[in-house]
Subunit: 280 residues, 2 copies
């Protein structure tokens, strides 16, 4: 029986601390501010943005959602970002992804001032993470690192496998694990014999975006299993990338979905917004 | 018996092409320019700088070495860099590392204009490599990728192990291999049971800086072995990180030391200087 890593509880505790911290900052005349730029009507994006707004408001962060039509031009969006770069009321700027196809995502991320890039997606912030001098860090892997430390899970010398190589989860996760002296492998869709590879891992981070992909055949007895997946099954129920019921008896620690990694991602976004406010 | 990857020959061929390319650029009124900033009297650094100068001159790149005393202040060095950032005659700026302890290396690298950072060490360039949109790339791993392609060594789906996690070799190497769909592991001094791990690798890149560290116990039959090491043995002879005589009979491809990775590193520096000249 694995110990459940309760992301929801950890997130709630951290957010309570942030509420006190924000109140103290306000007394010094600093109100942390976050603006979320939302383009179009994508339903999932709307939900994510709403959750971010709720968390910010609860903590006392001033938050605004700037909404734009699906047809906004890249140029207009870039000039909106520049406006918020200059606006001292906002310490954090977040552009909700994905963007419509006619807008170059890379250009948009590059336009955000690195100090205000609370999502940690700007190449300068990725480069600092790469170089071992992290500043803003992508929120999902950052939240996972907080889980490891909250549950005293040691990483040094452990074999860690990250399944998935996105810029916002897999790759930054690999760098963070490496910085803690884990031996890190990144696997992906082109990896051969993934179950056998996964079975060697002491630490398994799954961010592949396929519901119930990781079965007990992938998991070594006593492994730590972190599930980044957020998929819907045929009944519309939220499920992870890991077949929880099968894997839980084998693992030493495991995150559930929901109430696992998800709440920590939003929490780290808030942490970095407060951090940015303190720095600016 | 392994096929020898002849880095020297490949480098010579590439440099011959660059000589023609530079001549053609000069006809258009563009002379690629490279300035190397050298602080202090470190003997190894002097040799490296001299080799870079020789290669540049041979190719027709205008090169200058700016020499500074060991006691130069960080501020003075930064203002020298700024001078070269502004100087249109130099398309590439390279600060020879290591720097004296009183100078913050990170600050110095950050001061170079990313377009002129022909070494590929600026966080912005590392971040672009991370994000999968590489611009300037650290020269050693870039040169190794050219070797793979020159010898038609396929990487997709292969298990690649990089031993060493420096910002200038190990980490960028991992990203480049990942971009070619290898399954990539990064090992280092804290890795447990390295020989067993290495023995699973189809592609082995060794950049650990310890002479003859990798013996036949580390190498799978038919593996591709790339040796980044440049060490001196007790007799002062240049040796690699790999015990060549032992490993060569097992490997399918192997790089020698000298005449392996080394010449390719300088070649990619020249490539990126010409590239920068064409862009600017």
């Amino acid at each position: 029986m694995a110990t459940l890593i309760n992301g929801k509880e950890l997130a709630d505790n951290m957010q309570s601390d942030f509420t006190l911290e924000t109140a103290a900052l306000k007394k010094q005349g600093i109100t942390p501010g976050l603006v979320v730029l939302l383009v179009g009507e994508d339903k999932a994006s709307q939900t994510y943005v709403k959750n971010k707004e709720l968390a910010a408001t609860k903590i006392g962060i001033h938050s605004e959602v700037a909404r734009y039509s699906e047809t906004i031009s890249e140029e207009e969006l870039l000039s909106e970002i520049e406006k918020y770069n200059q606006d001292a009321a906002f310490h954090g700027i977040l552009v909700q992804l994905p963007l419509p196809k006619h807008i170059n995502e890379e250009k948009v991320l590059l336009a955000i001032k690195p100090e205000k890039d609370v999502d940690g997606f700007h190449p300068m912030n990725l480069g600092k993470l790469f170089a071992g001098v992290p500043d803003r860090i992508p929120c999902t892997p950052y939240g996972i690192m907080k889980m490891f430390s909250a549950y005293d899970i040691s990483l040094e010398g452990k074999n860690a496998l990250v399944i998935g190589r996105s810029n916002i989860v897999g790759k930054p996760m690999a760098h963070l694990l490496l910085a803690e002296n884990a031996t890190v492998t990144i696997a992906h869709s082109k990896t051969k014999d993934l179950p056998a590879l996964a079975k060697q891992a002491d630490i398994l981070v799954v961010a592949i975006g396929r519901g119930h992909f990781v079965t007990k055949e992938f998991v070594k007895e006593g492994a730590v299993v972190i599930d980044v997946g957020m998929n819907r099954d045929e009944q519309g129920k939220l499920i992870g990338d890991v077949k929880f019921d099968e894997v839980e008896p084998i693992a030493s620690y495991i995150t559930p979905v929901p109430r696992g990694v998800g709440p920590m991602t939003i929490t780290m976004l808030m942490a970095q917004t407060i951090e940015a406010a303190k720095e600016q």
